[in-house]
């Protein structure tokens, strides 16, 4: 998720992207998506920078960021774990899956682990209802997550080898 480039390279990348757009102001949401992909989150100074580049008020940018749950203003961990809480997953035990993840990661949904490795979040239906309940790690869907052992195995893949 997080790019490994330096902050200066981040700004350059973001500016290049914005410069490449024909319609700038109209593409605020796209720009925010891109910025979050590079930075991992949208801190105030990045939002302010985007506002200057797009020539729109910073309050407008902040309003949009605060509206969509996809955007985050808090730094995320290296890996983002999402639990689907859509109807099918809910019926098939999404709540238990979430609790098990909170247990294993020792953080609550919406939080980031102290070692900055994992962020746990929830989202609505990802369209993989046949595999319910699902968890998504860095965009990859893992289905039928019933057993604590299976969940542990998935997480282990993202932990650094020791």
């Amino acid at each position: 998720m997080c790019d490994t480039a330096s902050p200066n390279q981040f700004v350059q990348k973001l500016d290049d992207y914005i410069d490449s757009l024909t319609h700038k102001k109209e593409n605020l949401i796209g720009v925010l998506h891109y910025a979050q992909e590079i930075y991992g989150y949208l801190p105030d100074n990045v939002q302010w920078h985007i506002a200057q580049k797009l020539d729109i008020p910073s309050a407008t940018v902040y309003g949009v960021v605060s509206f969509y749950s996809f955007f985050t203003m808090i730094p995320r961990g290296e890996h983002v774990v999402n639990v689907c809480t859509g109807t099918a997953c809910f019926v098939r035990g999404a709540e238990k899956l979430k609790e098990e993840l909170e247990n294993q990661l020792k953080i609550k949904a919406g939080e980031t682990s102290p070692d900055n490795l994992f962020t746990l979040e929830t989202l609505r239906c990802v369209g993989a209802c046949g595999l319910a309940p699902v968890m998504i790690v860095d965009g990859k869907v893992h289905g039928r997550m019933h057993k604590p052992q299976d969940i542990n195995e998935v997480l282990a893949k993202y932990r650094p080898e020791s």
């Binding site: 939002q47 910073s58 309050a59 605060s66």
Partner: protein, 580 residues
């Protein structure tokens, strides 16, 4: 093309595209609303249908419709007074009240609040809904505006004003669902944003979410301090609006009563900012001539309006060399009271308190600017109160305003001409400047002193005025959005104006953020402007340079206009600021 429809059994024809709410108004049916705001003169409407109070029943439609955002259609049958519409409207107001502080009695907007008035009109006697109540911090960071988001009903009129009309963009709806509230970028205190403190958000806020920083108690304290010599000055636009707070018709001139009331309140001297407006003309006109003769940068931009000054400091920090360096009139008078007048009386300036009564909330911020003082202990102006605050003081002192006998300002700093009176309306400053410039540059008497081309509510007025063989290209702008358009042109080198007057508020100072609330009725502004022009006509002297007190001031104290002492006392500097 006109469309025929029926509202409450009344058949009417209105132009296509009109909203049901506006159509109803043409047949004297006032559908209540809290968020709708029609700013015809500025070509902006706030009809986002967020308050849901204006719902009506339309025959053949299952759901009620918000009449502010639903256009009329041919054959439409509308009921604004059906039981369903009335009950829904009342429910909307109850829902708004369920998440609104119940502190009306102690609210700054008590009896001037649209939500309170509506609850009364709709006969809301209890609130059927109990639930969570928002809790936000109150922002008292600035010297001008107090934001209490707990009283915000998310109508977003302030956003329309700040973002669309003024193009300052300080506010945005932030968050989602119940948590949504109008805030600044990154929840910054207002003092750290690009807010110009024009106060137009206050002027349109239907509740007490946005109010001015109240300074009335500071004034009472100064008036009751036996060691302080308290001097008051009043801006031109105050005298044509103050009466509204006492039930007088908009446009009533109450200059004499205002002076009498100020004396009754206990001020030691009652001076007129108009005097300093005449002085501003002398300084600014000389500055313009100086720039033209010495190849200085044009256009010269007026600098009387502190909101406009803060706007260009934030938005055009690379153009800081084009505005006039003249302080605003009340700051000029403040510094003269504490220097020239203190010397005349033989008293220590530190024992003088200068109070300005202004139609403006930005003047409060301006008075606190560090460069507008003579050393750290004596600000040029100590306290600024608005027209509204003065009205409240008069009521608090149990003075029957409309029974007061007219009185005159004190001499010498209360003497003024008709030229200075019209400073309060958009176009007034340049009209006043032209009256003086013409006579100074040609040496002839100007017979027709009215420059009608500069009057009226157009956002941008332009004229080419020939004086002494040179054409002066001038422009008059009100509203910061209009100013931005012209500033962009200047920045790009596409403008050939010589001088531009810019005022932040619609209509100029008469529409200032500190004036009695117009509740969306902008015709009040025209009435106030009309009154200023009447006051101008009633004066014997109508040209600034004819003011005998001004002539005396230069002779006895200042020396030449735009000279050394004038520079030291009457001119100022600007600061580049961040756009946030």
């Amino acid at each position: 093309m006109d469309i025929q429809l029926t509202i409450n059994d009344i058949v009417l024809k209105v132009p296509e595209g009109m909203s049901i709410l506006d159509a109803a108004r043409t047949v004297n049916i006032d559908i209540p609303t809290l968020c709708y705001l029609k700013l015809n003169e500025m070509h902006y409407n706030n009809n986002i249908a967020s308050c849901r109070v204006c719902v009506v029943e339309i025959e053949g439609r299952r759901n009620l419709a918000s009449s502010c955002s639903t256009p009329v259609s041919s054959g439409m049958v509308v009921r604004t007074d059906s039981l369903r519409a009335i009950q829904a409207r009342r429910a909307m107001v109850e829902l708004l009240l369920s998440d609104h502080p119940k502190s009306c009695l102690t609210c700054a907007k008590n009896q001037d609040c649209d939500l309170q008035a509506l609850a009364s009109e709709l006969g809301v006697r209890h609130i059927s809904y109990e639930g969570e109540e928002s809790e936000f911090e109150i922002d008292t960071s600035s010297s001008s505006i107090v934001r209490d988001p707990n009283k915000c009903i998310r109508c977003r009129r302030c956003e329309t004003m700040c973002n669309d009309v003024q193009t300052v963009g300080v506010y945005s709806a932030v968050g989602r669902g119940f948590e949504t509230v109008v805030k600044t970028a990154f929840d910054l205190p207002l003092s750290q944003t690009a807010c110009t403190f024009c106060g137009q958000c206050i002027a349109v806020c239907p509740t007490g979410a946005l109010t001015e920083l109240d300074q009335v108690d500071k004034v009472w304290k100064a008036l009751n301090d036996p060691n302080q010599f308290v001097v008051v000055q009043t801006a031109p636009a105050v005298r044509v609006a103050l009466g509204e707070g006492f039930g007088l018709e908009p446009g009533t001139i109450v200059t004499g009563k205002m002076v009498a009331a100020l004396r009754r309140l206990g001020f030691d001297r009652v001076f007129d900012t108009d005097f300093a407006a005449d002085l501003t003309i002398m300084e600014e006109a000389t500055e313009l001539v100086h720039r033209i003769q010495h190849g200085g940068r044009l256009p010269l931009l007026t600098s009387c309006c502190p909101a406009w000054v803060k706007f260009f400091e934030h938005q055009f920090p690379d153009l800081l060399d084009i505005p006039s360096t003249c302080k605003s009139p009340h700051e000029m008078l403040g510094v003269l009271i504490k220097s020239y007048y203190a010397r005349t009386l033989g008293i220590d300036p530190k024992t003088i308190t200068v109070v300005s009564v202004m139609p403006c909330v930005a003047k409060k911020y301006e008075a606190a600017r560090p460069e507008l003082s003579q050393g750290s202990e004596t600000a040029d102006v100590d306290i600024v109160i608005t027209t509204r605050e003065l009205g409240r003081m008069i009521r608090e002192a149990s003075i029957h305003f409309d029974h007061l006998k007219d009185q005159e300002f004190d001499h010498p700093l209360g003497e003024s001409t008709g030229a200075s009176v019209i400073f309060g309306a958009t176009g007034g400053v340049l009209e006043a400047a032209l009256r003086t410039a013409y006579e100074v540059l040609t040496g002839e008497t100007l017979e027709k002193v009215e420059f009608e081309v500069l009057r009226g509510m157009d956002g941008l007025k332009e004229a080419v005025i020939p004086i002494a063989g040179r054409d002066y290209r001038i422009a008059v702008i009100h509203g910061l959005g209009n100013a931005r358009t012209v500033l962009e042109k200047i920045k790009a080198g596409d403008s050939n104006y010589d001088v531009i007057e810019i005022m932040a508020c619609p209509g100029g100072c008469i529409g200032g953020g500190g004036q009695p609330y117009h509740h969306g009725n902008l015709e009040i502004l025209s009435a106030r402007a009309g009154a200023l022009y009447r006051e101008d006509r009633s004066k014997t002297l109508r040209k600034s340079h004819e003011n005998p007190a001004i002539i005396g001031l230069y002779k006895d104290y200042l020396g030449e206009p735009y000279g050394e002492r004038a520079h030291q006392l009457l001119h100022t500097t600007y600061t580049a600021r961040k756009k946030i």
